[in-house]
């Protein structure tokens, strides 16, 4: 195949990509999130989901959970690139450990009446979603679960009058007694 004339070697990479969930423990200081995000945008990595909050305020530690996709070589790169940043303590690939749980929370607003309203309530019950706001023509449901479950719930709400969704993104933690 002819490639365009270039000073660079143009190669198409067709390795299959994988989704990985990374937990990153960082010093909570100004700019640390910008550093992490800048790394992803600067090097062309994907961010599917990003969740960040201070987890140990006395030690000024924040935990960033990133869901990313890439070839195994790229995922390896991402972890090393994160790990070498000065304010980063640890990077754990939750997908590789195989012993992690992932949850996100979504708030789902549905508007409608009649059978649709009844059906929405019935489905919410089946998914263990709670009603956190209601008017005579709408509900706001709160649902937690893994990404797949939430996607499924949202898909079901769509024909019943889905108005909007607010999601937290994924938080992950390992099973068992050990910390990260």
């Amino acid at each position: 195949m002819n490639q365009p004339a270039s000073a660079y070697f143009l190669e198409e990479r067709r390795d299959p990509t994988e989704a990985h969930t990374l937990s990153v423990l960082v010093q909570n200081e100004p700019g640390v999130l910008a550093r992490v995000i800048g790394l992803f945008s600067g090097r062309g990595y994907n961010i599917e989901s990003l969740t960040v909050s201070e987890t140990e305020s006395q030690k000024h530690l924040s935990r960033i959970t990133i869901v990313t996709t890439g070839t195994p070589m790229v995922i390896e790169q991402i972890k090393h690139q994160l790990d070498r940043m000065v304010p980063v303590y640890r990077v754990v690939d939750m997908t590789l450990t195989g012993r992690s749980m992932e949850r996100e929370l979504a708030m789902v607003k549905v508007r409608g009446g009649g059978d649709n309203r009844v059906e929405a309530l019935r489905l919410a019950d089946a998914f263990r979603a709670r009603v956190i706001d209601a008017t005579t023509e709408s509900f706001v449901f709160e649902i937690t679960g893994n990404t797949g479950k939430i996607n499924q719930f949202i898909d079901l709400m769509r024909p019943l009058g889905l108005v909007e969704v607010s999601r937290t993104g994924v938080a992950a933690i390992g099973r068992g007694p050990e910390g990260m």
Binding site: N2, Q3, P4, A5, S6, A7, Y8, F9, L10, E11, V26, Q27, P30, G31, A34, R35, G38, G42, M73, E76, Q77, H80, Q81, D83, R84, M85, V86, P87, V88, Y89
Partner: protein, 591 residues
């Protein structure tokens, strides 16, 4: 209770900066004043321990600090003002990041209460420099300043070295706080570069090396950065194993060019024997290099039959471009020391006579050959003569970027590390002249030569004024072909010889230019006049611009064409128009 006014550690932020420089052994500082750093300049005025070198443009300060760092192994230090001062530093910071050069850059910032207000000469310095530094800090409280400055020096110089920026608002420079000397707790606990290599991995590496039939050592800039000990150990390893060794552009000098196992530089414009050895080897030992795209050529055809060992201090360099079999994370000197110890205790020098015979056949192709002329100076010839004239002298070479840089790498032999300063990763035209300044500041009595191109050198020419002011007798040896030679070469090879904007139609008179600056100018057209002029240049104890008029259309070979593997090099003898056209994908007729 002590009276705070008599506490010697109570001082202004500006004084802390100068004090920290002194505490870190800084003797020279490159910079340019401006509104947001005036308090620091006021402190510099009132002391004599740190000498400040005033450049003509902040980019010059950055590259000078890089040359200083590269030639001494110490960090280069830069002081610039806010806004344009900081943005002008972006190029040298990126350059230093790509080539792992330790720089500490202190920038002034508008007062804290004006940050975010679009104040005069304000820019988001930490935001702009975040992707081009190893780390950076904005200091909002004078009592954090000492800790941050000490951490900055530590981060810049340890692990994989790199540039750091400390942004200090003007009110913090004026404010008084408590200084403390460097201490261990100044550094993030999360920052822990690994220095010592894993023993089990080192054993695996030794087993591979001991069983090798067609080995090659491929070393890089990491060996230089690791310090003189690493180069010493690398030489010992070559001696003990008898293996052939090649090096990247950044690694030249770690192993001497006169060493009997030296194959020459590898990569796009490397020697045929080094690239063929890389391609056909069965065991590759990569020391402090990063499998850059100028080195590997086409990655899916890169050294297909070899087991690869990779020593690097930065885990993110491992498996980035090329999958390796035995990664060893650690400092080159540390790992080479351990590896040598194990090799000497457990392995014998493998018999690789047959491999050396193969290499001899490749070497006989004489891939650096060029056609000499009595009429015009060939650029390769000019560098050979320059090299010859400087043999046995205490010489440092810097370069700009382009054809002349590759010819310098091919034809100038380096015997020692820290003697060769070039912009490898970023490829910054205009690097060489200010870099030479920095080298000369650190080595006042040495011969410092910038092998330059006529296009590159005009990018930072203003620093000749700095050279004259500080009596820095740098020699700017310009291979003047009146083209942006490397751009033109690619246009000839890849873009149908349409020479779009690669010819400088208005070339300055470099001799008059030198004189205008108060420097000395030379101009040579004929090969017969070259040696004498070079001798005169070396004798002059002032800055020199040497306008060496060379063959205008000479191109740089050998060359790995784009999309090709190491064993598909284009050699100069074979680089006819037809062969060249055929070698390039979608080849177009060349004129």
């Amino acid at each position: 209770m002590t009276d705070k006014s008599h506490d010697p550690n109570q001082m202004t932020g500006a004084a802390m900066i100068v004090r920290a420089l002194i505490d870190h052994g800084v003797q020279h500082l490159f910079g340019y004043p401006g509104g947001a750093v005036l308090p620091i300049y006021d402190e510099i005025f009132q002391q004599s321990e740190v000498e400040h070198i005033l450049v003509r443009h902040e980019q010059g300060a950055g590259h000078a600090a890089e040359g200083y760092a590269r030639s001494t192994g110490k960090p280069g230090v830069v002081l610039v003002t806010s806004g344009p001062g900081a943005t002008n530093m972006v190029t040298p910071l990126t350059d230093a990041l790509m080539d792992s050069i330790p720089l500490v850059c202190i920038t002034g910032q508008v007062p804290t209460h004006l940050i975010g207000n679009d104040a005069f000469q304000e820019c988001d310095t930490v935001g702009i420099t975040r992707p081009c530094t190893k780390h950076n800090w904005l200091v909002r409280d004078v009592n954090d300043l000492a800790k941050v400055l000490h951490e900055a020096f530590y981060v810049a110089t340890t692990g994989r070295p790199g540039p750091v920026v400390v942004d200090v608002p003007k009110d913090v420079q004026f404010a008084t706080g408590t200084y403390h000397p460097p201490r261990k707790s100044d550094v993030h606990v999360s920052y822990t570069p690994r220095v010592k290599g894993d023993a089990a991995q080192i054993r695996k590496a030794v087993a591979l090396l001991a069983g090798a039939k067609r080995p090659v050592i491929y070393s890089g800039g990491g060996v230089i950065n690791s310090g003189r000990e690493a180069s010493k150990l690398l030489r010992e390893l070559v001696e003990v194993t008898g293996f052939p060794i090649t090096s990247t552009l950044m690694g030249l000098g770690a192993y001497p060019a006169t060493g009997k196992n030296w194959l020459g530089m590898l990569g796009m414009h490397g020697t045929y024997e080094s690239n063929m050895a890389m391609h056909d080897c069965d065991v590759m030992l990569c020391v402090g290099a990063r499998f850059d795209d100028r080195i590997t050529g086409r990655t899916d055809a890169f050294s297909p039959g070899s087991k690869k060992i990779h020593i690097d201090i930065d885990p993110s360099s491992i498996n980035k471009n090329i999958h390796v079999d035995v990664p060893i994370i650690g400092d080159c000197a540390n790992v080479l020391g351990d590896l040598l110890q194990v090799f000497k205790a457990e392995a014998k020098k493998p018999d690789i006579k047959a491999w050396w015979q193969e290499i001899a056949v490749w070497r006989a192709r004489n891939s650096l050959a060029y056609k000499k002329s009595n009429e015009v100076i060939l650029p390769q010839y000019a560098i050979e003569r320059l090299f010859d004239a400087t043999r046995g002298r205490d010489t440092y070479i810097t370069t700009e970027v382009g054809q002349h840089q590759m010819w310098a790498a091919q034809f100038f032999g380096f015997e020692e590390p820290h003697r060769w300063m070039t912009s490898g990763g970023l490829g910054t035209m205009g690097y060489g002249l200010p870099s030479a300044l920095g080298v000369q500041v650190a080595h006042r009595d040495s011969l410092v030569i910038d092998i330059a191109g006529d296009a590159s050198v005009q990018m930072t020419m203003q620093e000749m004024s700095t050279a004259v002011q500080y009596e820095l007798p740098i020699k700017i040896f310009i291979l003047n072909n009146q083209y942006m030679g490397m751009v033109r070469q690619w246009q000839q090879l890849l873009h149908g010889n349409r020479l779009s904007h690669s010819y400088s139609e208005a070339m300055p008179d470099f001799v008059k230019m030198a004189e205008a600056y108060g420097a000395v100018g030379f101009q040579v057209f004929k090969p017969a006049d070259l040696d004498g002029a070079i001798q005169d240049m070396i004798k002059v104890k002032r800055p020199v611009l040497f306008d060496c008029r060379v063959a205008t259309l000479e191109n740089c070979f050998p060359m790995i064409p784009s999309g090709k593997a190491h064993n598909e090099m284009l050699l100069p003898a074979e680089a006819t128009d037809e062969a060249t056209a055929a070698a390039f994908a979608g080849g177009k007729a060349l004129v």
